[in-house]
């Protein structure tokens, strides 16, 4: 009896050893390709030489490039120099407009708001952005020193720009004009920013069952497809159906703890997409249905 067994085993062994199976035609081409990659390493050497040459060339030419960069720096200096008179011009405009303002006995300057706005526009051109706070400036800023200080204390002021009136036309007293400049960031910070994480959307997910996207029945891990219900959800009745792409029902079960092992008629299915349909009832007696896509990988 045992001898027969051994003979049978020997037969199987020989069969498996002498079996022949033609691989796909493309296989040789692939091997050919990768062989031609590995056989000629001197191509790589040549490429490396070229790269070294290129790098050395870059180093050689880098010195004159540096000179150029120096020149550009000089240019920027000129540019800043050009900018400075612009600022001075702006100041001139400001001062001119201030000079046009009439001063009341109390020391307040009554000004045409439109003019000041226009002056702000010019300030904006010199890259300092003035926004909503400019209105505040109209109301409060052009005033006595003492008043200015009060306004500074009351308001959350980030930057103060003092523009001294150098014009002798207004008066002997030096009057300070405080411009409240508020940057954009601070303006945003001042407003209430909504905290997105505070939003509670657990109510929507409470009754949901998570359907995994993919599983691999041929591998050692993740080889069984199971759905995962939410922790708070108690499922009373449950039904899961899995359909293939051609509409054929592949698997169905009524227990939430059982899973699909990827087999159709005791044979592991080919790679592809399947549709999962869940129907279940929770403790309150509400019926839910849910569906999702499932990718079978091999």
């Amino acid at each position: 009896m045992k001898k027969i067994n051994e003979d049978n085993m020997e037969d199987l062994r020989n069969r498996l050893k002498n079996m022949q199976e033609t691989p796909i035609e493309n296989a040789w081409n692939e091997i050919d390709k990768s062989l031609s990659k590995t056989v000629f390493p001197f191509k790589k050497v040549a490429l490396g030489g070229l790269v070294v040459l290129g790098l050395s060339a870059v180093f050689v030419f880098s010195v004159p490039i540096k000179k150029n960069s120096d020149k550009t720096v000089a240019n920027t200096d000129i540019a800043t120099e050009k900018l400075v008179p612009n600022n001075e011009k702006n100041d001139n405009i400001l001062t001119k407009q201030v000079s046009e303002n009439t001063i009341s006995k109390d020391g307040f300057i009554k000004s045409n708001s439109a003019e000041i706005e226009s002056s702000f526009a010019t300030v904006e051109s010199s890259s300092i952005k003035l926004e909503s706070s400019s209105i505040g400036v109209e109301q409060n800023s052009i005033a006595d020193n003492s008043l200015d200080n009060k306004t500074i204390e009351n308001k959350p002021i980030t930057e103060n720009k003092t523009v001294k009136d150098t014009t002798k036309n207004i008066s002997n007293k030096e009057k300070k004009i405080n411009l409240i400049v508020e940057t954009k960031e601070n303006a945003i910070n001042r407003g209430k920013v909504e905290n997105k994480f505070n939003k509670s959307n657990t109510n929507n997910d409470k009754n949901k069952i998570y359907i995994p996207n993919a599983f691999t029945p041929t591998k050692s891990t993740n080889n069984i497809f199971k759905v995962i219900p939410n922790e708070d959800l108690t499922v009373v009745s449950f039904e899961m159906q899995i359909f293939a792409r051609n509409g054929r029902k592949v698997f169905s079960c009524k227990d939430i703890n059982t899973g699909w092992d990827g087999r159709i008629n005791s044979k592991i299915a080919d790679e592809g997409v399947f549709v999962v349909v869940l129907k279940y009832e929770d403790a309150d007696g509400k019926h839910y249905s849910q569906n999702g896509q499932l990718l079978l990988l091999r």
Binding site: L12, R13, R15, L16, M19, A27, D32
Partner: protein, 183 residues
């Protein structure tokens, strides 16, 4: 163009593409079965096949003419398949139930009644680790000690795995036979 085996091998050692193609034509179908045996589907087998064939061409200089070339090539393929398996870092815990089921299984099925394709399919249906152990122990006839060193699994477990693999194979083949009878 018919070259002798020695001519082909000499040509391959000189990296001649013509001889390499000749060697491929001669041995590909037999060596492909090795890859089929060590994997559970055709795609994986083809990947293994290509990689190990490249390995063969790279290492063909090491073949010194002792023993048949086919045997040498087969061994190289088997070694590559095993190393590829080890690279995957396979880990699966075997419960004690599996160990208890260890019994001396008799091979009662007559394989002559089945076609090559059916036998291959049966081997492919096995679990990955069981297939490895079955291939190494039964087909390559490696000793359990060697397999233990390669796979790092206890000898007892290996034996029981081999038994289970054989049992499953027989069941699979019998299933096929039953289905045939019904038709």
């Amino acid at each position: 163009m018919n070259y002798t085996e020695q001519e082909i091998i000499e040509g391959c050692k000189k990296n001649d593409r013509l001889f390499q193609k000749a060697l491929y034509d001669r041995f590909s179908s037999k060596l492909f079965v090795v890859c089929m045996r060590y994997s559970n589907n055709r795609q994986d087998a083809e990947d293994l096949f290509q990689e190990s064939f490249i390995k063969l061409f790279q290492n063909i200089k090491k073949y010194n003419g002792t023993g048949s070339f086919e045997g040498w090539a087969r061994k190289l393929f088997v070694n590559y398949c095993i190393s590829a398996f080890r690279k995957k870092k396979y880990k699966e815990e075997y419960s004690e139930e599996m160990l208890q089921s260890e019994q001396e299984e008799n091979w009662e099925v007559d394989t002559k009644r089945f076609s090559d394709e059916e036998i291959l399919r049966a081997v492919n249906s096995l679990k990955e680790i069981e297939r490895m152990v079955f291939n190494m122990a039964e087909i390559e006839q490696m000793s359990y000690k060697d397999i233990k060193e390669v796979l790092n699994i206890k000898e007892e477990t290996l034996r029981s795995m081999n038994c289970r693999a054989k049992k499953k194979l027989q069941n699979y083949l019998l299933d096929i036979e039953n289905k045939k009878k019904r038709i």
